[in-house]
């Protein structure tokens, strides 16, 4: 199986603190993967490296069928190459309507000059309505995003990611602050999405990961401690000691 994203031998040091230590990670084109680990294990730094926010000191990160290195690309270029990132806190443009938020995210040329002369078409409006419908915001298109509930903002952000049509989705703690029913819906959505693209979910909540029913990567002190099914990794004595034993 050829990997969509391949991270190999990556290390990052912040002021002498080794946040990521010789980390290697790979994910296929249609795969759901959960990443877990205690605080400070390097989960967020890992996402920062993949999305171009942090530059690793050594190692390589490649993406795509004909692997391209992501290390020389800016955040915006990486996003355009097909990597979408969902932040832990819902980050949507609160002062703009749901529809404007989605229009911004819709896959299109991002160059300033092209955006200046861009005019929305009927197809764009249909696509925005579809996306909003997909996450249950179909009737909220004209509302300002700032007026939405916490869970609705999370979904709006997910819909914005989908609008970009990414091939790899990085999702940071999607279930945080959600009610039980919202979690169920989010799980179903993520499983559905992973049928057509790669999805990496960083999560603390074991119940949530169990329902995702996918391969799990356990991070500890900046490198991979164990990898496999949830049952497999939870039986691993090293994992029990650093993560579950407490």
């Amino acid at each position: 199986m050829s990997a969509l994203l391949e991270v190999s031998g990556v290390s990052v040091t912040f002021d002498g603190f080794r946040a990521i230590n010789n980390l290697s990670f790979a994910i296929g084109p249609q795969e759901l993967r959960a990443v877990i680990g205690p605080n400070g294990a390097g989960k967020t730094t890992f996402m920062d490296i993949v999305t171009g926010k942090t530059r690793p000191d050594e190692g390589s990160v490649t993406f795509g069928e004909t692997p391209r290195s992501l290390l020389k690309m800016s955040e915006a270029q990486i996003a355009r190459a097909g990597i979408g990132r969902k932040f832990q806190r819902p980050t949507v443009f609160e002062d703009q309507t749901v529809s404007e938020n989605l229009m911004l995210a819709l896959k299109a040329n991002r160059a300033p000059w092209r955006v200046l002369f861009w005019r929305e078409t009927a197809a764009d409006r249909t696509r925005v309505a579809d996306l909003a419908g997909q996450v249950g915001l179909g009737s909220q298109l004209a509302r300002k995003a700032g007026e939405l509930s916490h869970g609705q903002k999370q979904w709006l952000e997910i819909a914005m990611l989908l609008a970009q049509e990414p091939r790899l989705l990085l999702v940071d703690e999607p279930a945080a602050g959600m009610s039980f029913i919202e979690r169920e819906q989010t799980t179903a959505l993520l499983v559905e999405l992973a049928k057509t693209r790669a999805v990496v979910v960083v999560e603390h909540d074991m119940e949530f990961i169990r329902r995702l029913n996918c391969k799990v990567t356990v991070l500890h002190e900046g490198s991979v401690l164990a990898e496999g099914s949830l049952d497999h990794v939870t039986k691993n004595p090293a994992v029990i000691e650093v993560y579950l034993g407490r």
Binding site: E75, A76, R85, F93, E94, Q96, L104, E147, S149
Partner: protein
């Protein structure tokens, strides 16, 4: 969604109507054209005010919409003025030199004329050679494009360096202040090639139009300023209405998010910075012929801070707010500092407005920031019932900014 541009942006139509009515009234009442109720000096003040409104629009685009508090845009305004002023001064001096040489027995050669012009313009700083920067000043066709090119290029280079290094927020504001101060100090030098602290003068005399009285010229400049302000307003309204405007507001509110959506945020900032610098330059090129004189003091850091104050008082993030703020505050300022405002005797102390105006301005800036962050323009929202929800009560969600209790009941 398919409605026309004007229907989606009712403020554009209102703005154009009010501006036309105002222009018409002033023209009819002006000394040079109609009833003569408005003296030429005041027509010039009004024309200059319209130019200030135009530069305030540029400031609103970069600060109000994009969230970049540039405190150096008056430098571009003044640069635009300098670029036009060079041609005006050269051409006007050339006329005078040609006239005075016409009496001599042998007709003057072009070299003699050029030498005469150089001596006339630069005698005041003890030089008699035209500096290199004046190479194009003899020709309107060569010099006039520089009104846009020089400030635009300057903004492009400065912005490229600043935005590429991801200088943000207050650091960028300080950097732009340093830029305008450095430029002012440079121009103050006699060997900068722009007549040092003397600046350029006599700009109110247009070459070839020496016979036309100032009362007529002033009204022409007033009309030109109004036309450019209208064009600027429509252009900026069009820019901010579409997806580009949406992207700019997104940069203001969360540029990191926009970057992860694939937008080259730095490119957008650079585009807006350069565009607004060029708009400021056009406004300046029209302002200084009405003022008659330009000198390096115009680039003082305080000028750009005033610009920010106008936009804040008018209401940032809405174009008409910037225009209202610039017009209101600058007219009020010329009234208070012009010595016509009555002093207030308190018995033990008399308030002279010339001294106390800046205190009043500073105080109103603080009060607007505290109690009416949307500025004067925010009053229009009351009429139009565009309310932001009252945010009282505890957050419903775990995050700040979620829907709040009282809103939820509505």
């Amino acid at each position: 969604m398919t409605r026309s541009f004007l229907a989606r942006n009712p403020s554009v139509l209102w703005f154009l109507l009010i501006l036309s009515a105002f222009t018409l009234v002033v023209t009819l009442l002006a000394e040079g054209f109609g009833l003569g109720l408005i003296p030429t000096a005041f027509v010039k003040v009004l024309g200059k005010t319209l130019c200030l409104c135009l530069v305030a629009l540029a400031m609103d685009l970069i600060w109000g919409y994009t969230g970049i508090l540039s405190l150096g845009h008056m430098a571009f305004f003044a640069l635009g003025g300098y670029m036009l002023g060079m041609w005006l001064m050269y051409a006007r001096t050339e006329e005078i030199v040609v006239q005075s040489l016409a009496g001599s027995p042998i007709p003057a050669t072009p070299d003699e004329v050029a030498q005469g012009v150089a001596t006339q313009i630069f005698g005041v700083v003890g030089a008699s050679e035209l500096p290199v920067v004046w190479s194009f000043a003899h020709s309107a066709w060569l010099q006039l494009p520089l009104v846009l090119i020089v400030p635009g290029l300057f903004a492009l280079i400065f912005g490229w360096l600043a935005f590429r290094a991801r200088v943000n927020g207050v650091y960028l504001s300080i950097l732009t202040q340093a830029m305008t101060l450095a430029l002012a100090l440079y121009l103050f030098q006699n060997d900068s090639g722009l007549r040092g602290n003397n600046g350029l003068s006599g700009l109110q005399n247009l070459p070839g139009l020496g016979e036309v009285p100032q009362s007529t010229l002033s009204i022409s400049f007033f009309l030109a300023s109004a036309a450019l302000l209208a064009a600027g307003y429509v252009t900026l309204a069009w820019i901010t209405a579409g997806k580009f405007g949406s992207a700019l507001r997104a940069i203001r509110d969360d540029e990191q998010r926009l970057r992860f959506l694939g937008y080259p945020v730095e490119g957008y900032k650079l585009f807006v910075f350069t565009l607004t610098a060029m708009i400021a330059a056009i406004a300046g090129a029209l302002y200084y012929p009405q003022a008659g004189i330009i000198n390096p003091a115009e680039l003082a850091p305080i000028a750009s801070i005033y610009l920010a104050v106008w936009v804040a008082i008018g209401g940032r993030g809405r174009l008409y707010g910037a225009v209202i703020g610039a017009a209101f505050v600058s007219l009020l300022s010329s009234w208070f500092t012009g010595g016509t405002a009555p002093s207030i005797p308190l018995g033990f102390y008399t308030i002279h407005w010339v001294d106390w105006w800046t205190v009043l301005l500073g105080l109103s800036f603080v009060l607007v920031t505290l109690f009416a962050p949307k500025g004067i323009g925010g009053l229009f929202d009351r009429f139009a019932h565009i309310g932001t929800p009252e945010r009282h009560g505890a957050d419903l969600g775990p995050d700040a900014g979620s829907l709040q209790e009282r809103e939820a009941q509505e």
